[in-house]
Every structure is written in C-alpha cells, then in structure tokens.
C-alpha cells in the first residue's frame, strides 16, 4: 500500500525541469523580444510621493529650492577637483578668485594663498604624470601628443597666472611673472630624468621634481631669473630670483627686494634684507647645468644654515634640500648641460 508521503515523493520526483542552458537561451529570446521603450516609459508611483505633492503643493517649491541649492553646492564641490583643461576648472578658478577677495587677516590670507599654490602644483604634477604614463621615457627628449602638450602648457600657464594674480607685494617678482607669462611659448618639450620632469622651450625652462614622499618643486627659469614653488614636508614656499638691470639710486629698494627670499608661509617682516646674495638655491646660471647643480650643492647647505638660524622653518627641510640637490646632481649632467647651455 502506498502512503501519501510516497505518492508526494513520486509526484515531486517527476517535476518537469529546465536546464541552466535552456533557461539562459529562453531569456535571450525573451530579452530580444521585449519592447524596450515601453518598459522604460513605465513608472510605478510611490503613493507617498503623490500624496505629499498633491495635497501639499508648497512642498514642491521647497523641494525645488533644495534641489537647486544642492546642485549648486555639488557643482562647486565637483569643480574643486577640476584641473587645468577640465570643464569645471573655469568654475573652480572663478570661485577661487572670489575667495581671494574675502576679508581675512594677513596670516589667514597667506595661508589661503599657500593652499592654492599647493593645489596648482599638485594639478600640474598630476597632469604631467598622466601624460607621461605609458609613454616610453628616455634620457633624451620625449615628445608628447599634441593634446598632452596642450594640457601641460595649460597647467604651466595656470600656475604662472596664479602667481601673477596672487601677487604678494613683491614688485620685481610680479614683473618677472608677468613677463614670463607673456613670453612662454606653447611648444615646450618634455624631458624626464628619474623623478624629475622638465618642460622647456627656446627661452624658458620649467622643471617639476616629484618624489615618492609627495614633495614637489615647480620652477620657472628665464635666464638668471627664477620662480620656484616648493612643497616640502607639507610646507609650500614660493621663491623668486630676479635680475636687477638698473643702477639708479632710486632702485635701491628694488635691489633689496631682489635679494630677499619670499616664503609664502612667512610674514613679510621676516625677510632678511641684509643678505648680500640671494638664497643661493638657484646657483649661477651662467654655467651649464652640471655646474649649476654643483653650485647648488656647494651653496645650499651653507644657506640652509643661515636660513635655519633666521626662521627655523628650513631646518626640517634642509636634509631634503640636500637630497634634492643630490638628485639634481645625478640627473643634471650630460644631455641637460648640452641642451640647456645653448638655451641660456
């Protein structure tokens, strides 16, 4: 005698089934015959949604205002991550320019411009790394694509423009930046040596040093004149070296400013006007690069000692400076000297 449980087992064992392949093939057929748009038109309204906005139309206006506010804030937030060449970069710069004019204390303003300097430097570094990623780099000149060159040129210009716009009462510095911004040609070539990148053209040279610790240095050279944005140990410094073509007594003040070092993180009254030479970081450009970097090696540590005694801010970075210069020495020979000697 069969029991009910046995009958159930027998019935269930006979269940018609589909294999996984059959199920999959059937879906392919179904999907290909689905009316796509008619499905997308469909909308299952939430009863809550309809209830609130039908019975409380004012809420619709409030929701719209909130949406516009969030969208605007979202745009501002998104634009902050924009880089030169990005669509939102114009918005980012506009917001920065507005922020620059906000009333702030002197120290807060300096800190804010310090932050923007760091951002410009980081943007340039990222763009440069992106464009060089995957490109076979050698010790000789590496030509980028036209688009890549354009991006780097834009980034360089943005940095120069930023330095120009955020002039920190250094007249000669401002003049130098303005001249470089006008003269810099947009067909620079890119070279890479170890962790240093160099973008240069016939008259100007721009160097970017990057290392694994996140420290960066951005330097624009024209002849014996230089501007450097340097980030070390989280501190951003802007240094300028300008030439003094005038012997006029009325330019005595300018000659003092020529020889002063400007640190974005320091107050103006900390500038040492008594120093005869510039900080010596840049060395003597009349020689080729190999000697130039040697000059850096010879003079930098000496000046760092002076710097340390004066401000105390360099002490933490003096070791890094030596490391940078060692790196300069390693990579600044040979081709650099032959190429740059002609240019300068």
């Amino acid at each position: 005698m069969e029991k009910e449980t046995d009958i159930i087992k027998k019935i269930e064992s006979q269940t018609p089934e589909l294999s996984a392949l059959e199920i999959s093939l059937m879906w392919n057929y179904i999907e290909s015959h689905l009316p796509q748009k008619s499905v997308l038109k469909g909308y299952i309204p939430s009863p809550f949604w309809h209830f609130e906005f039908r019975t409380h139309p004012m809420l619709a206006g409030v929701a719209l205002l909130l949406l516009v506010g969030f969208a605007g804030g979202g745009t501002a937030f998104a634009s902050n991550a924009a880089r030169p060449g990005d669509m939102l970069f114009t918005i980012d710069r506009a917001l920065e320019n507005i922020s620059l004019h906000f009333p702030r204390s002197e120290g807060a303003q300096v800190s804010f411009k310090n932050k923007l300097s760091n951002e410009r430097l980081q943007e340039f570094r990222e763009i440069l790394e992106e464009e060089l990623e995957g490109v076979k780099v050698t010790s000789t000149t590496t030509r980028l694509s036209e688009r890549g060159q354009g991006r780097i040129d834009n980034a360089v210009h943005e940095i120069i423009k930023f330095l120009d716009a955020s002039d920190l009462d250094d007249t000669n510095r401002g003049n130098l930046i303005t001249e470089i911004a006008q003269e810099f040609k947009r067909k620079g070539r890119v070279e890479r040596h170890d962790d240093r990148y160099r973008v240069s053209d016939e008259q100007n040279r721009i160097e970017v040093d990057v290392d694994d610790d996140g420290d960066s240095r951005f330097e624009v050279r024209r002849g014996t004149e230089r501007i450097r944005i340097e980030k070390k140990d989280g501190e951003v410094r802007v240094r300028t070296q300008v030439s003094d073509d005038s012997d006029d007594a009325s330019d005595k003040n300018n000659s003092k400013k020529r020889n002063s070092r400007f640190d974005a993180g320091d107050a103006l009254d900390n500038v040492d006007h008594s120093r005869g030479n510039f900080d010596g970081d840049f060395g003597d450009d009349s020689k080729d690069d190999s000697s130039d970097t040697t000059q850096d090696d010879d003079t930098h540590s000496e000046n760092d000692d002076r710097d340390t005694s004066k401000t105390g801010t360099d002490s933490s970075s003096s070791g890094d400076n030596d490391r940078d210069d060692d790196r300069d020495g390693d990579s600044g020979s040979g081709n650099d000297g032959s190429e740059e000697g002609n240019g300068e």
């Binding site: 027998k10 019935i11 269930e12 006979q14 018609p16 059937m26 499905v39 299952i44």
Partner: protein, 183 residues
C-alpha cells in the same frame, strides 16, 4: 519571508523601470515555478518552452501596469497570463483543425510518444487524469511549482482552507488509484 517579499518587490520595480539585470533575476525566479505548470498542459517540452517564453514577454511588457502588493499576487498575475496563452494556443489549434492530442485549459495533456520527452511517468500521468481540474492544478502548483497553499489560494481565487482540503482529497484519490493498480 518579509525579506523575500521585499526583494521581490524591488526586482519588480526595477524591472518595470527597464533594469535588464533585475528582469533577468526576476525571470529566473519565476520560470522554475511557471514552466512545470505550462508543461503539464503542453504536448511537448518544446511547445511548453515556446509558451513560457511568450508568457514572459507579455509579463514584462505589462509590468509597468502592475502594482506589487504581495508575491502571491505576482504569481497570480503571471498565471493569468499563462492561462490566456494556453487558451489562445488551444483555440488556434482547433481553428487549424489539428488533431490535437493536447487538451488546453481543461484537461491534462496526454502522454507523448515517449516518457522521456514528456518528463512524467505514465503512472503519474494517468493518475493525474483521474483528478478534477482544480484539484489537479493544486497538486501541480504545490508539488511542481512549489507554491504555498496561501499563494495557490490567491492564484486560483479561493480560500486557503479550501485549497488545503482539495489538496488532501487529491492525495487521497491518487493513493486509492495507485493502490488499486498495485493491487
């Protein structure tokens, strides 16, 4: 149980909005329940597959007009479409004058040429023929499509207690029929 209901609701809503991936997941969950029912009313497996495909095409096409309240209601909706498809197929066969050995909508399909093709042994097939349509359907929906009595009640439009009673009667009838055959 509530999680399964919620998950099913999300799948239905996403499918209605055109999410293909959700549609596929929903299809895979439903096809294992629907196919046995359609197969029990089809001549061949290929025919059952064709009908099942057509049912799902109609199902997803009309999903935008469906408002999910429960899984049982969803299954009932699907089976309504299936019945219509089966009935339409039966009428088309009648119009063509085909000598159909398959009876749609009212009777179970007779056995095909081979047991292997049909997937159901002759013994079970003959036993199911003995049952009335509604009790036969309850057995198929419960033991092949794996629906609960509550879901079957919604699908068939009757109370759950009525479903349970008829299910019990169906098993008793089958037991008597099979035991008569043994004896």
């Amino acid at each position: 149980m509530e999680q399964a209901e919620g998950a099913l609701r999300v799948l239905v809503e996403k499918s209605a909005h055109g999410d293909t991936e959700s549609s596929r997941v929903l299809y895979e969950q439903l096809v294992v329940r629907l196919f046995p029912f359609i197969r029990s009313r089809s001549k061949t497996k290929e025919e059952a597959i064709d009908i099942t495909q057509d049912v799902f095409i109609d199902f997803f096409s009309s999903l935008t007009r469906f408002s999910f309240t429960s899984s049982a209601q969803l299954y009932a909706y699907l089976f309504v479409i299936a019945r219509r498809k089966l009935a339409r197929g039966y009428r088309e066969h009648i119009k063509k004058g085909e000598n159909t050995q398959v009876q749609y909508d009212d009777e179970i399909a007779p056995h095909s040429t081979t047991e292997q093709d049909y997937g159901v042994t002759l013994e079970i097939e003959e036993a199911l023929k003995v049952l009335q349509e509604d009790t036969r359907e309850i057995l198929v929906l419960h033991h092949w499509s794996r629906h609960t009595f509550g879901e079957i009640a919604v699908i068939l439009g009757m109370s759950e207690s009525a479903v349970r009673v008829r299910h019990h009667r169906a098993l008793t009838q089958l037991k008597d029929y099979l035991n008569k055959g043994i004896t």
